[in-house]
């Protein structure tokens, strides 16, 4: 499939052009315009066959016909009925919305595009209108006046366009007086689309690769090992400390599962180097799996079932290896799933033990059933018990702000752990918060979550990332913040492009990378650079040292 080469407009072309004015036409009559840069490419049919998904075919978004199966309408309506019977959330969220509009300006895609159908209330209404038409008497009797409309191919196209302009970040659900969660409706709506063979390439390719080989990049076991062994060599070069890794080792105490983004591309790789340094420093009895090689769960971006099919591997592998518990790396949607779905999907994990830090003896009661803890929980506990010797000066070149990733914020609430680590690995006065309405539970999404890493989608992603970038620019200008910290691999994958566009002077870093920089090993060589080979403050070029003072 030829990739659409799209020219992305400049910030000064996008920004003043965003208007929150309403179109002339009512929303039922307004059809989406599939302009390059604003939609994702359809999935290559081969992926569907890898994972047994229905109706694989070649199709094009801009074609009049999408080649839907002949009985597509029955499939969708049957699928909707089925989901109404299985998910109280869906039924309830369809029925109780009062369209108060509190969610309207909470969506980063609405703020970045001005498109009224990106107001969560209206995005939900795109599906609700069909529900009303076929499943409620008011809709059957009164039609449009009850907010109901027929299900047509145009409606399917609209769902595709707007359900893939929702990153399932749940910011709307925080502000909704009834907790109506657009993420839930997007997940179920995408399931319906998948059921008639409407999928996007980036997500489905990642899913198929995760399913088949282990990680979204499709690396076979030996390639994964090569990549990670390379980080050990890099660690040794920078710190003089050898950080050997064992793979698929039975009897290890801990299975570590990271998002594959962290061993695939910069700057996530530096975070991976940080993981290795930390575990080596502690002499932890841990192992990595080339089979359960992906913490990130791209299946969740297609359907609950696909999410479960990928997630199942983690417990399956933990059982086979006979580990005691699992530590998870810095990843956003992985943690939404670990925290809120994994135990239900694939549990009970009664073959594992309640996580207990071998260094501090802390028992993680909050993970008593799932038996999986977050690396930031683990690290914060170590620092609190004074088990790490840290030299914050090694991060003195970094002025940091912390981006709360949407999934770990509104699907978990891990706010203090990473901040506690940050304050211990950075020199005092190097950490700055973005404005309070844009962080913690009110955080803005990166704009590329839930499967939008695709290049052809860049314009919409940049628009979706505007509110985050806008808040970041504020602290960059005011305090000279030069790094954005995060605990999400998708953030690390997409922010460099995004920030290069909106706030070019800021770089992206994982939190464990900062830990890796600051860790003082007894047998290390003299550290002159950070993990990225950048000179430490006070070493190398004198100007830089002065500047930081």
């Amino acid at each position: 499939m030829a990739k659409a080469k799209t020219k992305v407009p400049k910030p000064e072309e996008i920004l003043p052009g965003i208007s929150y004015k309403t179109p002339q036409k009512g929303w039922m009559d307004l059809k989406p315009e599939f302009k390059p840069g604003t939609y994702c490419n359809p999935a290559n049919p081969k992926w569907a066959s890898w994972i047994d998904y229905p109706y694989p075919r070649e199709w094009s978004v801009t074609n009049e016909s999408w080649g839907l199966p002949a009985d597509w309408k029955e499939i969708i309506l049957q699928g909707m009925e089925d989901r109404l019977n299985r998910f109280r959330s869906l039924k309830l969220f369809f029925d109780i919305c009062v369209r108060c509009g509190a969610c309207a300006d909470k969506c980063h895609f609405f703020l970045g595009t001005g498109d009224p159908k990106n107001m969560p209330v209206l995005r939900a209404e795109l599906m609700r209108s069909v529900y009303k038409r076929y499943f409620t008497s008011a809709g059957k009797l009164l039609g449009e006046l009850a907010g109901a409309r027929d299900l047509t191919e145009e409606v399917i196209k609209e769902w595709f366009y707007y359900l893939y302009q929702c990153t399932e970040c749940r910011r709307c659900s925080l502000f909704c007086p009834y907790g109506i969660d657009m993420a839930e409706m997007t997940i179920l709506g995408r399931e319906l689309l998948s059921s008639i063979g409407v999928n996007i390439e980036w997500t489905m390719a990642s899913v198929a690769q995760c399913y088949d080989k282990g990680s979204h990049i499709g690396a076979p076991p030996q390639a994964m090992k090569d990549m990670i062994d390379f980080f050990a060599e890099e660690n040794e070069r920078v710190t003089g400390v050898n950080t050997p890794i064992t793979y698929n080792r039975k009897g290890a105490e801990i299975l570590f599962v990271a998002p594959s983004g962290d061993y695939f591309a910069d700057p996530g790789t530096y975070t991976f180097m940080g993981y290795l340094l930390l575990f080596n420093y502690l002499d932890l009895d841990w192992t990595l799996s080339t089979y359960a090689a992906e913490g990130g769960n791209f299946g969740f971006f297609m359907s609950h079932e696909m999410g479960k099919r990928l997630n199942a591997k983690i417990y399956h592998e933990a059982k086979r290896l006979g580990v005691k518990y699992i530590i998870g790396g810095e990843c956003g949607h992985m943690w939404r799933i670990v925290n809120q779905y994994m135990d239900t999907f694939s549990g009970p994990a009664d073959f594992l033990e309640v996580p207990k830090s071998p260094i501090t003896g802390t028992v993680f009661e909050n993970a008593a059933s799932t038996k999986m803890i977050h690396i930031s929980e683990f690290t914060a506990d170590l620092i609190r018990h004074n088990k790490l010797q840290l030299d914050p000066q090694r991060n003195a070149h970094i002025k940091l702000t912390f981006h709360d990733s949407c999934n770990t914020s509104r699907g978990m609430g891990i706010f203090e752990e990473p901040r506690y680590i940050i304050k211990n690995v950075l020199p005092e006065g190097h950490f700055f918060e973005m404005p309070p309405n844009t962080i913690r539970e009110k955080t803005f999404c990166c704009g590329s979550g839930s499967g939008f890493n695709a290049d052809e989608y860049l314009e919409t992603r940049l628009r979706g990332g505007l509110p985050r970038a806008n808040a970041l620019r504020y602290v960059a200008e005011k305090y000279g913040v030069n790094h954005l910290g995060c605990i999400c691999a998708i953030d690390r994958a997409v922010f460099p492009t995004l920030l290069n566009y909106w706030v070019p002077e800021v770089e992206v870093t994982g939190i464990t990378e900062l830990v890796g920089n600051a860790l003082v090993f007894p047998d290390e060589i003299e550290r002159t650079t950070d993990l990225r080979d950048r000179d430490l403050v006070g070493i190398g070029s004198p100007e830089e040292g002065e500047e930081a003072d």
């Binding site: 910030p11 003043p16 309403t22 036409k25 009512g26 929303w27 019977n85 299985r86 998910f87 109280r88 959330s89 109780i96 919305c97 509009g101 509190a102 309207a104 300006d105 909470k106 703020l111 107001m119 008011a138 006046l145 749940r170 659900s173 925080l174 909704c176 007086p177 009834y178 907790g179 076979p220 076991p221 030996q222 090569d226 698929n248 080339t290 089979y291 099919r309 591997k313 399956h316 809120q340 135990d343 239900t344 549990g347 909050n366 993970a367 008593a368 059933s369 799932t370 914020s409 509104r410 609430g413 891990i414 706010f415 203090e416 752990e417 404005p435 309405n437 539970e441 509110p467 620019r473």
Partner: protein, 345 residues
């Protein structure tokens, strides 16, 4: 007629139509129908409809525990959680109840509301910047309306009880604290009308809200406005025989219905509109009132890693087992010195 006009006009026409129907009914001497039969019917529809809807919802299970977390999670014992964290990220049932109470009694989520706006700013490299600020008007309008409505419902109980219980009398006295003139002026009525008018006005004047609003959004607001206005008119302008009214309402609750002569015209308009509201309730968005209690993003604890949530329809799925994986990659794994279950043959 465009989308907005169509939806607004239909809702307005429906409410005006209802007022007209009640008027005509009195002229046609249908007081018995509109004073007794319709109210009974409305209550019957309400009760049955309400229960039906609750059953409909509860028939669908809650497969996943998906609370929206709005505060610091419960994790390490030394990480402090404020009361706000505990309520917005409730780890135990106690705090779930607290969260729900705050939501229902204080509209906690609406209280959090922000307004975001793009400000043109030539100084800024992009030419504009986004700003966000706390915006509580919707919260204020909503909470004013709901509490006024509650007080009005409670104080109307004096028409349905004899003798009137003390707490209803108390509400009555507090509500009528401002004794501007006779009869006593009720604050709740004025608050209700002003709040509903505000909620309606924001739908009509804010372009985005106008864009999303449907006839089912205008209709209940207009109906409430009509009920409020007819009530106020009945009390302060077109006086009705209150003793006769109470005879009718007491007759209704004691199941000895009768329509005394001489009740003013407007009473039947008021009663009919209220009957319509009651009957309409279970089939409309007004069911958000019981619905919020069932909302899975608000009514579940966040102890999702500590206690397993069971999905009643959980089914086994096909996934790529380790054995298949190893069979496929064994050679490469052995070569890369990755341990395998079965050695190469």
């Amino acid at each position: 007629m465009d989308f907005f006009k169509r939806h607004f006009t239909v809702a307005l026409a429906a409410v005006l139509g209802l007022v007209l129907v009640a008027h005509l009914a009195v002229f046609a001497n249908l007081q018995l129908l509109f004073g007794v039969v319709v109210p009974y019917l409305a209550v019957l529809i309400f009760v049955e409809g309400f229960i039906y809807r609750l059953l409909q919802w509860s028939r669908s299970p809650v497969p996943f525990q998906i609370p929206t977390t709005g505060g610091q999670q419960e994790s390490l014992p030394w990480i402090e959680r404020s009361l706000g964290d505990k309520l917005d990220n409730p780890y135990t049932t106690r705090y779930v109840i607290g969260r729900m109470a705050l939501e229902v009694l204080a509209f906690r989520s609406l209280f959090r509301n922000l307004r975001s706006e793009l400000r043109q700013d030539p100084e800024h490299p992009g030419g504009a910047r986004l700003i966000h600020w706390s915006y509580k008007w919707l919260w204020l309008g909503a909470i004013a309306f709901h509490y006024a409505f509650l007080v009005i419902v409670l104080r109307h109980l004096r028409f349905f009880t004899e003798p009137v219980p003390g707490f209803i009398q108390l509400i009555d006295n507090v509500d009528g604290f401002f004794r501007f003139f006779t009869p006593v002026f009720y604050l709740s009525g004025a608050v209700l009308v002003v709040a509903v008018a505000y909620l309606l006005a924001r739908r009509l004047t804010n372009p985005m809200l106008r864009y999303i609003s449907l006839a089912p959004d205008y209709f209940p607001l207009l109906l409430l406005l009509a009920i409020g206005i007819s009530g106020i008119l009945m009390r302060y302008v077109y006086k009705v025989d209150v003793v006769a009214v109470k005879e009718l309402t007491l007759g209704l609750v004691t199941l000895h219905p009768k329509v005394p002569a001489g009740i003013g015209h407007i009473f039947f308009v008021h009663l009919f509109l209220v009957s319509v509201l009651i009957a309409y309730f279970p089939f409309s968005k007004l069911m958000h009132a019981p619905g919020v209690f069932l909302s899975p993003s608000r009514n579940l604890p966040t102890n999702t890693r500590a206690v397993r949530h069971v999905n009643p329809w959980n089914y086994p799925v096909k996934f790529h087992h380790y054995d298949e994986y190893e069979d496929r990659f064994r050679e490469a794994m052995v070569e890369a010195e990755i341990p395998v279950e079965k050695e190469l043959e």
